[in-house]
Structures are given as C-alpha cells and as structure tokens.
C-alpha cells in the first residue's frame, strides 16, 4: 500500500478561524470584539479533541463557528476535505451536530421528547412512513438510556441528566460523524456527570463519532479526550496529546491552569503548590499587544509585547505558542 492510502483522512479541518463581533463603543462607533482570533486544528475520525480555557476565551464560539451558528469573519472549515460554506451548510448539518451546555434552556418546553428527537429527522426527511419515524426515535432513546415509555412526556418532567440524554439523542438522530459538545456535563451533579461521560464514551465506541469536547473542568477533559487544546483570549496557546499535556505542560498558562485544578485527594491537594496567576483576564476589547497572556505571565519579556508567538510543533504533535518555553 502506498503511504497516501495509509494516511487517515482528516474529518474536520479548521484553518485560521476568526470570529469578530461588533460592539458599540458609544458615539456611533463600533469596535470588533475578537472572540476567536485565528484558530487552526484538525480532528480525526472517531477522535475526541478537548478544548479548555476560562470563560470568555472563545471556546464556545469556536464550536459554534465550526457549525456556522455564527458566520465566521474569516477562515475555513473543511469536512472530509470539502469546504463548508453557508450554502451547503444544510447538507453538512447531517454530518455535524451539537450538544449544548444547559439541558434546561436547550429543549423546547412545548414539545414532547418524541418531537424534540424527531425534529432533525423531519428537517432532513430521513423517514418514509410515520412508523419508521417512531421506530427511529425509540431506537435513539434506547441508545442514550432513556425509557421508551417516556416518549410522550415533556422536557420539564425529566431530571437534568435525563434532559442531557434527550439533547444527545437529538444530536444523534441524523447519524452524524462529528459532534460539538459544548460543556455538556457542567450543569450536572457529579454522580450524574459520570453517567453522561460514560455514555459519550460508549457512543463513540459504538458509532465511531468524533467529538470536539468543550469544557472548563480539566479532570473531565483529560479523562475523555485523546488530544487537548488550550485556549486563552481567542487563540490556541497549546495543543498536545492528553497525557502529554497533563505530564508536560509547556505554556505558562497551561502550567498555571493545571496547577489550579482542585485535586480530590487531601494529601496531594494539601502538598500541591499552585502557580497562582496575578490579576484577571484582560478584556477582549482591550487586548494586550503581542502575546495576549504576557500581562499575567512571569516569564514575559519585551519580545512578548511586540510579537505574537506562533503555534510551533515541539515534536510528537505537541504545539506551543510561547517564545520562552
């Protein structure tokens, strides 16, 4: 076999993605809020890429821009090598779906579970008879561990964990190959969180879907991801294999982020030295020049203020955007 055939085709390629939002700054002026500022990454079929960062770093916007819930300011998204544009997005939505954070506001309270899960089937006309539609819905409910008898109930009759299952069933209805999971377990209690995480893993084994798993809980992301990308103020600062990133974080931001994770083990937690960052995240409207992290970085030099470091591969696909590490 030739080399090219062996190479696995990338499922999703994101290239130079930029998403600016106009913000009124008084006196009729608008200035751009750079929510995502040049983000590139690939996702392989059946892979989970974790995307972490603090609130306001643009991780959710990345997920939404890939699916064109926002029209990106610049950049390209390719699915299976094909460019995703506004025109053909409808077709690609059959391949790419999304699970939202809040299982309370992302389900229509006036629709029964059957209709919520059935809506993507209606939109994409994926059935010929009513019986087929119902069979598909019941199959999906079974897949995510919901009781089929509950198909005629409304969303408010379910608990948070069950609602998230409904949201996942809805995403799976069109048999997608790629799902953007936007903080899917953040709103859930610990014991329920574990149920949903396990379900994501089982579905991946069964159906071979790839995930972009957006979350702020690093323990969860490390558990579920093959690779992890760390974002800070609209840019990816580090991307690496999950274990590699955990053991050998190179970017000063990743280092402090990892050291700030509360460890559920008293001996380790009490002995652990945290790298406490000074100050707050700067406003994305008043972004610092050069490297966005330099205002909180203890290694910052003059060069960091002048140039923005590019994401450079340091071997084995471990990419870091920092001059000093």
């Amino acid at each position: 076999m030739s080399n090219e055939e062996k190479k696995v085709q990338k499922l999703v390629e994101v290239e130079g993605l930029k998403q600016y939002f106009p913000v009124k700054s008084g006196w009729g002026k608008t200035i751009p809020l750079k929510a995502v500022d040049g983000v590139s990454f690939d996702i392989m079929p059946g892979e989970t890429l974790g995307l972490v960062g603090e609130s306001g770093c643009g991780k959710t916007t990345v997920g939404r821009s890939i699916l064109r819930l926002y029209e990106p300011t610049a950049g390209e998204v390719r699915y299976n090598g094909e460019l995703v544009t506004r025109k053909n997005m409808h077709e690609f939505r059959k391949e790419m779906q999304m699970v939202f954070q809040d299982p309370y506001s992302s389900l229509n309270p006036r629709m029964t579970v059957e209709d919520i899960i059935g809506e993507p089937l209606d939109v994409h006309k994926l059935y010929t008879t009513k019986g087929e539609r119902r069979d598909k819905i019941l199959h999906l409910m079974e897949l995510v561990g919901l009781n089929a008898e509950h198909a005629t109930r409304y969303a408010h009759e379910f608990s948070g964990g069950q609602r998230q299952r409904i949201g996942i069933a809805r995403a799976l209805a069109v048999d997608p190959k790629f799902i953007v999971c936007d903080e899917p377990v953040s709103a859930l209690d610990v014991s329920i969180q574990a149920q949903v995480i396990n379900m994501f893993e089982e579905l991946q084994e069964k159906l071979g879907v790839a995930y972009l798993f957006i979350a702020h809980d690093l323990l969860v992301v490390h558990h579920i991801s093959n690779r992890i990308a760390v974002m800070y103020l609209g840019k990816i600062v580090e991307i690496a294999d999950a274990d590699e990133l955990n053991d050998n974080p190179m970017h000063p931001y990743t280092q402090s982020l990892l050291s700030a994770v509360p460890i559920p083990d008293p001996k380790i937690a009490k002995a652990k030295k945290r790298i406490v960052l000074e100050g707050d995240v700067p406003s994305p409207l008043k972004m610092p020049s050069g490297c966005a992290f330099r205002t909180r970085c203890k290694y910052a030099t003059e060069r960091c203020a002048q140039e923005c470091p590019a994401l450079v591969d340091r071997g084995n696909g471990h990419k870091v955007a920092c001059f000093n590490q």
Partner: protein, 334 residues
C-alpha cells in the same frame, strides 16, 4: 481539645409548598471547633445550603426550622429574637454566597456596602468605617482600595466581587464564616486565588469556616473535617483523610468512584445509577437506598443510625451495622 463554637443538633428544616412539605434538612447534627474549616459536600438538593441558611436564619419565607437546636457557644440561636439575631449575623457569623453579582447591591458603591456592616456592628464613626473598609479591601488583595470604594459592583470582575464579598463578611471579625459555594461561579485560576485567600485569612484571623460545595476537589484541599450529605441527611462525617481514604458510606464511595482520576491510566468511571432523590417523595428507609448497589432489605425499611467508627469518623449506613454484627457474631462463635 479545641473549643466548640457551633453545635447543630438534630436540625430539621422544611419548606411548606403548595405541593406539600419538602423536608430539605432531616436531622442533621455536627459540631464546629474554633479555627477549623468544615466542609459540607453533597449534590443539588442534598440540603447543604439549607443547613447553612438555617444557621444564619435567612431561609425563604416558606421555610422553617421545625425541630432541633443550633448552639452558638452554648446559646440556642433559634430562641433569639430579631434584634439578637441581627447582632449575631455579620458580627458573630457571616456568609458569602455563590454568585457575587447578585449578592451585591448594584445601586450602591462598594464602599457604602462595606461600611454599612461596619457602622451597624461597631462603634466606629464614618471616617473610621471608611478606613476600615479600605483596610479590609487591602487585606483581601484588592488593588487601589480607595478607588474601588467609589466604584459600583458592575465595574469589577467576578473574582474581584467575590473578594469584596469576603471583605464585607470579615469586616466585623466574625467567629464563623459560612461560604456557600464561594468559587462555583469562578474560573479555575480565579478559584485558586480565592481559595488561597480564604486559607490565608483563616490563618491570620483565626475564624472557623463552613465551606459548602459540591466540588470534592475544593473540599479535599481546604477542609479539616467533612460532612457528606444526601437527601437532607448526613451520610458520613469525619476528617478529610477518613472520608477520602476510608469512606464508610456507599454514597461517599460512589461519589469518589465517579470523579475522573488525575493519573494517565484511564479507567472507566463508575457512576452512581438512577436519578437524584425527590424530596417530596422521600423513601421510608435510607434516602440513598434506591440508587445503592449494596441495598439490603433493611435499607428500604428503616433509616440507618449514625455509628461511630473511630474517634473522628461517623457514618449512617446499614452496611456498617452488618459488618459489626458479623464481627460480633464471629467473636461469639469462637
């Protein structure tokens, strides 16, 4: 022996709603020693916040403490009248909440909100209260305190607001600080800052802290003693080491199994099955029995009593009773 400053005995708090009595707290007992950090951990609806609110007497209008005692230095605060309670709140015991945005008044400056508590509880005049407010802001690590005193809450970031809340709570040097999910709304790096600050202040000022949270990681790093709650009852209480290294209640064990480990060996999580308890429809026996993989017949029928397992470790689980009986049975057979 350190001094006991707060003792909660058999606390029952209910909410009287249209759909019936919701027994949010169902016989909770614990003690708090001076200068210690006590963690209360549990899922939503476990009654952890209501326990904290019962101590402060700030329950919603439908809520009422129906039974039990809350002893502050031996005095039952449930028998306090309104004035005594006002003296207790803020001066002896204060509370910080989860969301620093909604717990600060948006129409007053930081300074006037900070000074209000100081003027109310101490004999300082306005100028002294102002100085004290600035001093408190410096203590909690807010830069440019004089400028901040003139600012409104919306001008500060989430982490800064939570610092202001802490400054406000500590301005009158209370003996007890109740922190109700103080870092849940904050990012990890800001959370680390606030937790570090709370530990530092605790060492400096020597107050006792009751930390209410759902995050086992936060609890592990902060607390001397831990209470695990489920369905309005205490499942297990003991030192951090007792709870994390030798849990003796099936719920605690389940919780610990369901969080991802820090290492690189990726073991599958073991979730707790089922759904959280409905407080309107409490089972007759152990609150956790419907989700417990080890549930026995007796668990369905009777509420397990608290058993002392070591000098610091208590658990309410029939499994421990069974173990004890087997041991005793084994001993008598010999």
């Amino acid at each position: 022996m350190s001094e006991k400053i707060l003792e909660v005995k058999n606390l029952h708090t209910s909410f009287f709603t249209d759909s019936g009595e919701v027994r949010a707290v169902n016989g909770v007992s614990f003690e708090l020693d001076a200068g210690k950090i006590l963690g209360i951990v549990g899922e939503s609806g476990s009654g952890k916040s209501v326990t904290a609110y019962s101590i402060m007497q700030i329950l919603a209008s439908t809520g009422k403490v129906v039974d039990g005692q809350i002893l502050y230095r031996g005095e039952d605060i449930l028998k306090y009248n309104k004035d005594q309670m006002r003296q207790f709140r803020g001066k002896k015991c204060s509370i910080i909440f989860q969301d620093p945005m909604t717990s600060l008044n948006p129409t007053f400056t930081i300074g006037s909100q900070l000074m209000e508590a100081i003027l109310l509880h101490t004999s300082r005049n306005k100028q002294e209260a102002h100085d004290r407010a600035a001093e408190m802001l410096t203590l909690v690590g807010v830069n440019e305190p004089e400028k901040r005193l003139k600012q409104y809450p919306h001008e500060l970031s989430g982490g800064m607001r939570q610092r202001v809340m802490i400054a406000m709570a500590l301005a009158c040097e209370p003996d007890i600080l109740i922190a109700d999910e103080p870092t849940t709304a904050l990012d990890v790096t800001i959370q680390a800052q606030i937790l570090e600050l709370m530990q530092e202040l605790q060492k400096k000022l020597g107050m006792a802290i009751i930390l209410v949270t759902h995050d086992l990681g936060v609890i592990a790093g902060m607390c001397d003693e831990i209470i695990v709650m489920y369905g309005g009852r205490v499942c297990e209480r003991g030192t951090a080491e007792d709870i994390f290294y030798s849990p003796k209640h099936e719920y605690t064990k389940g919780l610990l199994r369901s969080i991802p480990s820090t290492g690189n060996q990726k073991e599958k999580l073991v979730p707790i099955g089922g759904t959280p308890i409905n407080l309107l429809n409490m089972p007759k026996g152990c609150a956790f029995c419907a989700r417990c993989s080890e549930a026995m017949k007796v668990c369905l029928e009777a509420v397990p009593e608290e058993i002392q397992l070591s000098h610091s470790h208590y658990a309410s689980c029939w499994m421990n009773v069974k173990d004890l009986m087997q041991k005793e049975g084994g001993a008598s057979n010999e």
